[in-house]
Symmetry: C2
Subunit: 74 residues, 2 copies
């Protein structure tokens, strides 16, 4: 089984939403909070991550734009 | 098992890349080519899809920005 890495920066609304994607993947998903694990920013950059949240699967980078609903903030 | 819907418009580079995401989901994934199935654009809009490619899982919309590598075009 391949491994997926989910990079994020801790925005609670986005993490909650994108958790959905992680939960629906067949792979083991490692979650990396780049705000807390600054030492891994270089690794993320080398993988091709340009912005967070991003999902890296088998070396391919997917930048995910959920666009949180305003209802999540009420 | 829930169902995921993957909306796209047939860009071959992007479809190839995003196929990776679809293949890694646990769910059954329905692929809808909105360029060919224009009758489903309204349905996509109602789901909250603003642009393609987009993935709808359990009613949540995720706009995916892969940013195809130029190497895929060589």
């Amino acid at each position: 089984m391949s491994k997926a890495v989910f990079y994020h920066a801790g925005c609670p609304v986005c993490v909650s939403a994108e958790q959905t994607v992680a939960d629906h993947l067949k792979d083991e998903v490692e979650k990396v909070h780049l705000g807390e694990q600054g030492g891994r920013v270089a690794e993320a950059e080398q993988s091709g991550v340009k912005s967070v949240p991003a999902l890296v699967i088998d070396g391919q980078v997917f930048h995910i734009n959920h666009g949180a609903d305003l209802s999540a903030l009420k």
